[in-house]
Amino acid sequence: MLHIFCPHCGELRGEEEFAPAGQAHIPRPLDPAACTDEEWGDYLFFRDNPRGLHHELWLHAAGCRKYFNATRHTISYEILETYKIGEKPDVTAEAQASEKKPLAQGATA
């Protein structure tokens, strides 16, 4: 079971309290009516689905009922950080590539 640190509650809690909600940092188009079919389809349906670091939304459903973001490795499932909506992740694939660290040994939250 994953132990997830809710940045709103400030506590590590069990996975059962949370619901994953997919890829994070997907901005809604500012003028949806002006989108082409391709742009709108990309926004709605197409995802990065990486084998490696993934920035994703979680809902603390049985807790504070607020959304937050997490950076998680999709092979080891290790959660490297959690952060509030509107904040930027500290752990990114680009940063790790420049430090030349193996992916699974990133910073901890």
Binding site: D37, G41, F45, R47, N49, E56, T74, I75
Partner: protein, 416 residues
């Protein structure tokens, strides 16, 4: 290819079964093929077989990074059915069902297809309405289906708890009597053996590391065993399709999730059909060995780890015990996960891609096994001609731009 028969079994018993031919060769890659299939699971091997056997394309290779049938083909719960609601998917899965019915004879390999019946239980009034609609739609599409009331269900599935005292009482069920199970490994091995006999090169331990392109068209695949040229490339890599798409330079409307299953210790025969419940969400059948084969929903997060979380298993077993209280003390033997590629509309993608001559067959999500023969057949037809087969055409990736989704979420007799 050495044909299998009762007489052959007897003959080999005289030499203590020490002289059986290997089921397939282990060839070295040729420099160029007409078609290269990436992914040696059930769908990939079926594609290769139908290409060589039915569509006359003999110069074919299957490139597999591990061993044949070692991914989701080896990890599913072996259920075969075709009772899908919408016309597009009903036709596709029924095409597969018709091939299942003659598959063992066709491949000269016993895939142990057992049409023992698939029940989909209904626990609410809305379940009953949906079931009636789905059975009617199935019948209009020439697919067998019956709607049963609670008394009939109780009579047909003796150990199912149909009492009024349960949390979600069983109100009825649909039954597809031609549905059932097949031996998953045998499907991969049977297709591999028959494809090899038809001249297909099965290249195991060969991982694709990139696609070589020229003027926007693919001309071959880079692998850990060097470059392999190809006139057309078909990618059938299930959970790793997103990764393959990234190597080819585009994205897919797919997220990969862990899907778990588990088997119990072997028991005496107790369940002679497949029983699925959407509302309490679990499904169960019993293998010929006697173990109960149990599955349910995906883990909600994106994952490539071929394992999931315990709360999901617990939820699954709660559903099983709700349906079959008699099983509450059965011990579970093994539990595992596979990586399933889920699409927003719970339907597969069988499609051309932005790269010319590169075709993808993916997005089967939680229900790919049942479609193996049909998926392979229509994908082979598409790769042989370069034109998408009529049954595959609605499953183009373009539907995510045009909006012509085939929404089988919930409609397909099982929650996704």
């Amino acid at each position: 290819m050495q044909r299998y028969s009762g007489f052959g079994l007897f003959k080999h018993s005289l030499s203590h079964h020490e002289n059986w031919q290997r089921m397939w060769r282990n060839p070295t890659p040729k420099p160029v093929y007409d078609v290269v299939i990436v992914g040696g699971g059930g769908h990939g091997l079926a594609t290769a077989y139908y290409l060589a056997k039915t569509f006359g394309v003999k110069n074919v290779a299957v490139v597999e990074k591990g061993w044949l049938g070692g991914g989701n083909t080896a990890r599913n719960t072996t259920i075969v059915r075709s009772n899908y609601l919408w016309d597009e998917s009903a036709h596709l899965y029924e095409h597969a069902m018709k091939l299942w019915e003659g598959l063992s004879r066709d491949l000269n390999y016993n895939v142990m297809y057992s049409p023992r019946g698939v029940y989909n239980l209904c626990h609410t009034l809305q379940d009953m309405r949906d079931a009636e609609r789905r059975v009617s739609a199935n019948r209009l599409n020439g697919i067998d289906g019956e709607l049963l009331d609670a008394a009939q269900v109780a009579a047909e599935i003796p150990y199912l708890d149909c009492s009024k005292g349960t949390r979600y009482p069983v109100m009825g069920a649909t039954i597809q009597r031609r549905g059932g199970v097949a031996r998953h490994d045998a499907v991969a091995w049977g297709y591999a053996r028959a494809a090899d006999a038809a001249g297909v090169d099965l290249l195991q331990q060969t991982e694709v590391t990139g696609f070589r392109k020229e003027n926007g068209a693919v001309i071959g695949v880079e692998t850990n065993r060097g470059f392999i040229g190809a006139r057309r490339v078909g990618v059938v890599t299930a959970g790793n399709s997103g990764h393959m798409a990234r190597l080819a330079g585009f994205r897919l409307p797919i997220e990969s999730h862990p899907l778990q299953a588990l088997v119990s210790e072997p028991l005496k025969p107790i369940i002679d059909s497949v029983i699925m419940s959407n509302a309490v969400h679990g499904y169960i059948s019993q293998s010929d060995k006697g173990d109960l084969v149990i599955g349910a929903g995906i883990d909600g997060y994106v994952g490539y780890g071929q394992r999931g979380s315990y709360p999901t298993i617990e939820h699954t077993l709660q559903a099983i015990v709700e349906m079959f209280p008699i099983l509450s003390r059965v011990r579970m033997n093994r539990q595992w996960g596979g990586i399933v590629d889920t699409t927003p509309d719970a339907c597969p993608i069988i499609s051309r891609t932005p790269v010319q001559n590169l075709f993808f067959n993916c997005g089967w999500g939680t229900g790919g096994f049942k479609a193996t023969p049909g998926s392979g057949h229509v994908f082979a037809a598409s790769l042989a001609t370069g034109q998408m087969h009529a049954l595959a055409a609605p499953f183009s990736i373009d539907r995510f731009y045009s909006g012509a989704l085939i929404d089988e979420h919930g409609a397909a007799a099982v929650a996704h």
